[in-house]
Symmetry: C2
């Protein structure tokens, strides 16, 4: 951590991404059901936080928008804490303009349509309850939308449990982002919460299978690839 | 923590609860929606873990059944880790017989009726999704049911956001437990995740308003009250 702090301090303004602004999302979102219950997911934020650190180490000015995680804020990075997908989108919008956006958060696709102000109670004789979910804003698609403020490079993640590359390529087309980092989150892969990651980088040109790397190494490799593509500010 | 370890070691077999067996549940439960998503709640497990430690410090042999928390296992206590309400009930049954059971976990009332094996995907054009929830087993009511194996003393918690004492008394009658510790978890109380607790102890005879105490102090006060009621093994 001290080393990271030094790297962060040294990196600011000097590395290959000097003068570049980056936005990274990380962690899960929590979608309230009522004041005490919520829908969550198993994202630890380790990968997103590692990417934010790696971009900062290359000199980028990084805003990290993080859902609820137990990780410390990375040194040398501006971290904004949010809970829900709607709050995450608002924080991302506030961080614009940026040169590159990396959407590593596991944003809930759905939120509860009628989140209650008071705790929902079991009623006697009530055996089932229907929870109506409504679509959350799509942060990756929103940031990828062509237009004046679009980042030069938008990178998404695809966490899949089956047909990983095929579904990731479909996701890239559907969202309009430039790159997708596809990873296998099936129960046997150990990705969610674990320290290692098996990733394929999907671009317009094809796909690149990375070896099994630590999440820190995935962050560094992605940051290096981003630096190659963007370079420092002219 | 070192002090707690020493207290735990000294306490075992010597305090006013020497020879008594205790079961404590703590933390939230996580109810799976699919392999990556789940329903959770804001319980930190601080209160349940504090009660387990306090009972052990008075000499009880304690099994703590804990949902997913970020707390360390209390020293001098046998801790069993579970995720769902069904797994928590199974772990509680396995810990019987006990002299006292304290149900401090925030057990999800509902689980998803048809939890999916693969990640649920958004379908194009699909704006809403219905999640059908079904009732979880009621651990407090199950442990309170009269019969041969019933603990001498069963203590439940009532986390309420309004009409706290009235709803706690109704809950005591409905569940069949002996005591209820009622606390206010409205957004302004800071109870969930916080370190302090404002508690009322509801018994058959009446109710006892405790002052604002730390969760450790609530644990000690409850353990002392349990020791008064049960005493050591004859």
């Amino acid at each position: 951590e001290i080393l990271a702090a030094i790297e962060g301090a040294l990196g600011a303004g000097t590395g290959p991404l000097a003068g570049r602004r980056a936005l990274v999302t990380s962690g899960p979102t929590h979608e309230p059901i009522d004041p005490v219950r919520f829908i969550a997911n198993r994202s630890s934020g380790k990968q997103g936080h590692a990417i934010a650190s790696a971009l900062a180490a290359l000199g980028a000015e990084v805003t990290l928008v993080s859902g609820p995680v137990t990780l410390p804020d990375p040194p040398g990075v501006t971290t904004v804490h949010v809970e829900s997908a709607e709050a995450m989108l608002a924080a991302c919008r506030a961080a614009l303009p940026v040169d590159v956006a990396v959407c590593a958060a596991a944003v809930a696709d759905w939120r509860v349509a009628d989140a209650a102000d008071q705790k929902r109670k079991k009623q006697p004789g009530q055996d089932t309850m229907a929870l109506t979910l409504t679509q959350n804003p799509d942060i990756l698609a929103t940031l990828s939308r062509p237009g004046e403020g679009r980042p030069m490079l938008v990178v998404g993640f695809a966490a899949e449990t089956e047909r990983v590359i095929e579904q990731a390529r479909e996701k890239r087309d559907r969202k309009g982002c430039d790159w997708i980092l596809a990873n296998d989150v099936s129960a046997t892969s150990g990705t969610f919460g674990g320290d290692a990651n098996t990733v394929h980088l999907i671009t317009a040109d094809g796909e690149d299978a990375w070896p099994v790397l630590s999440k820190a190494e995935v962050g560094q490799r992605l940051a290096a690839r981003i630096a190659e593509t963007l370079g420092g500010e002219a």
